[in-house]
């Protein structure tokens, strides 16, 4: 399967400081592949280089070294751009235009004309849930609505590849839900979706693959299932119909006990203490088992562990703390 | 009380403050103005003293600035003439200098400006040399403009009584390509009969017939009327001299002369203003309100002798 996005040692240095300019490495030799037809998450804390990566791909910023290809063509190829949709971070559009007019302008820039063009615009706005507000000037739009307009303009040209920079930012929970549904729909239609986020739960529900950036470097990546199946770190047991006093007896073994309702408790048990033993005692006290489930290491745990190790000074000449050997993948292909 | 009205009432102190502050400010200004004299009228300020400086600063807006300064010139000249204050035209020459530096092709500024400058007091500053200098400046910018040379000739003839200089100017004018034929005859007349009233009349008539400019036409008409007035005064002085020979009693009045049969009616100048008769000297002159004032002074040797 051909890759929708490929980068090879993509690097970006900026110069920071006016009086004593110093080079600052925003992205360090990023090499990755995004296979076509998948949802790919580019994750990392703020300042990790996610937006820089996406801007390099959209040629808003030029690489200091390395290269990248989109849909098999070098970055900046104008024909390729006809098949790509892009949503910038915190988008801002010409606020004196209405949503209709803005999308009409963009549609014409893509080369569409006439009544087909108007239909396209209407469909895109429908898809993101903008109704009659489309005739209002954009300066009257809330942040969430602007985000939706941004999504609409990214889908206008029926793109094979959709690049989204922080697509969930500024949205309320309903909005986030809708965007998640939209991304899955795009995937089902066979499109490739590459998005960046610092919110891990979104990645967990949507992505097949992820790449984790920290400090300008790729610190981990691969299939989500590979990364997180790793370790079970314990169990969670929910019981009902027991008194607090009875539950308190397990304080020595449970790492955590929460009361979630009247006579209903959640117990977290560590790895070394299998739930079967607790269950027997609980049932003997007259309680009922409501649920048992393993606690897997979440992406967040994985994330925190690797990112903390990687983040250090990115100015040339200062020592970088050593990255954890078995999870360091800088320079290694991820795919 | 509705919410809107309540909101409005809440703003009432703000409005009171606005009105009160403004009233206090205006009051302070009125009080101060009573104490200190007002600054010099805007007239006296040129803003910028030098034509060259103004031109540099004007970038490409010099033509419209020239118009602004021209308007100021006209207002200054007219304002001083008609006003009650002292007849001082100090700003006239600098304003004209700035106007013509900003727009060296501004014909009207040169021609009317020269007339303004040459006009003797109280109607003008009486500076024929400045007038000639202004016209020469115009010639530098437009060497082909024979009208400026003609105007120089007139100033020299009429105000400076420099008949040779005037003739030279007229001749120079007639040498310019495209100049009309009558300029050379003007030169000849001036040289031959300079100062003679008939020659002057011929020159002014020539100007009147050959200029299309309305304002300059009216100026020529005025000069011709002044010459007419001079003729009339001469005639009246003869009549008065004959009357005086009969040793009438003083004070002399026109009515006495009419009663004596020397005149049919009170004599009036070409503008219709009655002449003045000196009650004890018998001297005839223009009436005080006459717009033909001041009459040109003629050199004694050129005045035609009253016929006896």
């Amino acid at each position: 399967m051909k890759a929708a996005v490929e980068t090879a040692d993509l690097t970006k240095d900026f110069t920071v400081g006016f009086w004593r300019p110093r080079p600052f490495r925003a992205l360090d030799r990023l090499t990755l592949d995004v296979p076509a037809g998948e949802v790919f998450g580019l994750l990392g804390p703020n300042g990790a280089g996610k937006t820089t990566t996406l801007k390099l791909l959209m040629q808003l910023v030029y690489p200091s070294s390395g290269s990248a290809r989109l849909l098999g063509r070098p970055v900046g190829d104008i024909d390729a751009r006809r098949r790509i949709g892009y949503l910038p971070e915190n988008p801002y559009f010409y606020d004196y235009l209405t949503a209709d007019e803005l999308l009409g302008y963009f549609a014409r820039l893509f080369g569409h004309r006439g009544p087909g063009c108007a239909k396209r615009v209407g469909d895109a706005l429908d898809q993101v849930g903008i109704g009659s507000e489309r005739r209002l000037q954009l300066r009257k739009f809330s942040k969430g609505m602007l985000q939706r307009v941004g999504l609409a303009q990214a889908l206008l040209n029926d793109p094979e590849l959709v690049v989204l920079d922080e697509p969930m930012s500024g949205l309320d929970p309903i909005g986030r839900h809708e965007v998640r549904a939209l991304i899955l729909r795009l995937r089902d239609e066979g499109r490739t979706v590459l998005f960046s986020s610092h919110i891990l739960s979104d990645a967990e529900t949507l992505c097949r693959r992820v790449a984790i950036l920290a400090g300008g470097r790729l610190v981990a990546g691969g299939r989500l299932s590979d990364l997180t199946e790793l370790r079970i770190r314990g169990w969670e047991v929910v019981v009902g119909d027991v008194d607090e006093a009875a539950v308190r007896r397990f304080e020595t073994v449970a790492t955590r006990i929460d009361a979630i309702a009247e006579r209903r408790f959640t117990l977290e048990l560590p790895l070394g203490h299998p739930p079967e033993r607790v269950l027997g005692d609980l049932l003997a006290l007259g309680g009922h088992l409501l649920s048992v489930q393993p606690l897997r290491e979440t992406l967040e745990d994985y994330f925190v562990e690797h990112v903390r190790a990687a983040t250090g000074s990115r100015f040339a000449g200062r020592d970088r703390p050593a990255v954890n050997a078995d999870s360091s993948t800088s320079g290694r292909k991820v795919g | 009380m509705s919410t809107a009205r309540r909101a409005g009432l809440r703003l009432a102190p703000a409005w009171i403050l606005i009105v009160a502050s403004f009233a206090a400010a205006v009051g302070a200004q009125v009080w101060r103005d009573r104490q200190t004299p007002p600054p010099a009228p805007i007239e006296r300020v040129l803003y910028l003293p030098d034509g060259g400086v103004v031109e540099r600063l004007a970038l490409s807006f010099d033509a419209i600035l020239a118009d602004v300064y021209w308007v100021r010139t006209v207002l200054h000249f007219g304002g001083v003439r008609r006003g009650d204050g002292p007849k001082r035209y100090e700003l006239l020459q600098p304003l004209l200098d700035i106007t013509t530096t900003l727009d060296p092709l501004f014909t009207v500024a040169y021609r009317y400006g020269a007339i303004f400058l040459a006009e003797p007091p109280p109607g003008g500053p009486g500076r024929p040399d400045d007038a000639i200098a202004l016209l020469e400046k115009g010639l530098e910018a437009s060497p082909g403009r024979w009208r400026y040379l003609q105007d120089i000739g007139f100033v020299k003839y009429w105000w400076k009584r420099d008949y040779e200089g005037a003739a030279r100017a007229f001749k120079q004018a007639s040498d310019v390509e495209g100049a009309p034929w009558w300029l050379s005859s003007m030169a000849a007349v001036t040289l031959a009969e300079g100062g003679d009233r008939r020659a002057s009349r011929r020159l002014w008539l020539s100007l009147l017939e050959n200029t299309e400019d309305d304002w300059l036409k009216q100026d020529a008409v005025r000069r011709l009327r002044q010459l007419d007035a001079l003729d009339q005064i001469d005639q009246l002085e003869e009549i008065v001299a004959q009357y005086l020979a009969t040793s009438p009693p003083t004070p002399y009045t026109w009515e006495d002369l009419i009663a004596a049969g020397a005149l049919r009616a009170i004599p009036r100048d070409p503008d219709g203003v009655p002449y003045y008769l000196g009650p004890y000297t018998g001297r005839v002159d223009l009436g005080d309100e006459s717009r033909l004032q001041p009459l040109p002074v003629e050199p004694l040797e050129a005045r035609p002798m009253p016929s006896t």
Partner: protein
């Protein structure tokens, strides 16, 4: 319509929505009021003053539009980051710049056209209502077609200023770009003095440098033929053509330079 055309129309639409064209209302009012007052104050020079005022105001308003919209063309967009969603559409950065330039050029041309009609309108009224003896003293007829030469050169000068504003706008903030553009406009009008510095100054090296600067910086004074046209002095077609060619060449160089600078810029 090609990409450049689309961007141009959008830029034009932006200036219309910015209510830029309301300056025309002010302009027309100014001319009409002036034409009433002017007769009283100027001893028969009404036509000249209306022409001077009309041309000067057209030039000044056009300059303000050229500078303040010109700088916003690029730097405002970059500052507000609306440029991200546009440059990533299928177009080159050069097409973007040229489209913006064309849009502002269109705004200026429309503005000047309306002003020309207003000036000729007032002059026609003056021609119709002035008595023959006053008209005889006018150096040039009220409805003088030579005014169009002056307006054409005003247009070329403004197009040059817009190109300068666009260039500065590709790499500096709006405020700095405005100051630099206005500064260059002023310098451009004094530029002619540099040409003859050798006549005034003894140092030949300084004079050579001055001459070089004269050719390098835009020389704007020759675009001003307002005084000649109003005074019915001849302005030859050759002069107009050569001056316009200078403008076209200089604009080409400026746009190419802007394209290079903008083309390599990182949008952080």
């Amino acid at each position: 319509m090609g990409t450049i055309g689309l961007i141009a129309v959008n830029a034009f639409r932006e200036s219309v929505r910015d209510k830029v064209l309301y300056n025309l209302v002010f302009f027309a009012t100014l001319l009409i009021v002036a034409s009433y007052l002017v007769g009283q104050l100027t001893a028969g020079q009404e036509a000249k003053i209306i022409k001077d005022l009309g041309l000067a105001a057209a030039s000044l308003f056009g300059l303000l539009i050229a500078v303040f919209i010109g700088i916003g063309l690029v730097s405002k967009e970059v500052e507000r980051r609306s440029v991200y969603s546009v440059l990533t559409k299928p177009m080159s950065r050069t097409q973007f710049l040229l489209g913006k330039y064309a849009g502002l050029a269109l705004t200026l041309v429309v503005n000047l056209t309306v002003m020309t009609i207003a000036i000729y309108g007032v002059l026609a009224w003056m021609e119709w209502s002035s008595p023959a003896n006053i008209k005889a003293a006018w150096e040039a007829p009220a409805l003088d077609p030579a005014l169009l030469k002056a307006i054409l050169l005003i247009a070329m000068e403004l197009l040059l200023v817009v190109a300068v504003a666009l260039l500065f706008s590709t790499f500096s903030s709006p405020l700095l770009a405005a100051s630099l553009t206005l500064g260059l406009y002023i310098v451009g009008h004094f530029n002619a003095d540099l040409r003859n510095l050798e006549a005034v100054v003894d140092a030949p090296v300084l004079a050579a440098v001055a001459k070089g600067v004269y050719y390098a910086l835009p020389n704007l004074a020759p675009f001003d033929v307002k005084a000649q046209v109003v005074h019915a002095q001849p302005v030859t077609l050759t002069y107009v053509t050569l001056t316009s060619l200078y403008a076209v060449g200089y604009i080409g160089a400026l746009l190419a330079l802007a394209s290079v600078i903008f083309g390599r810029r990182d949008f952080k």
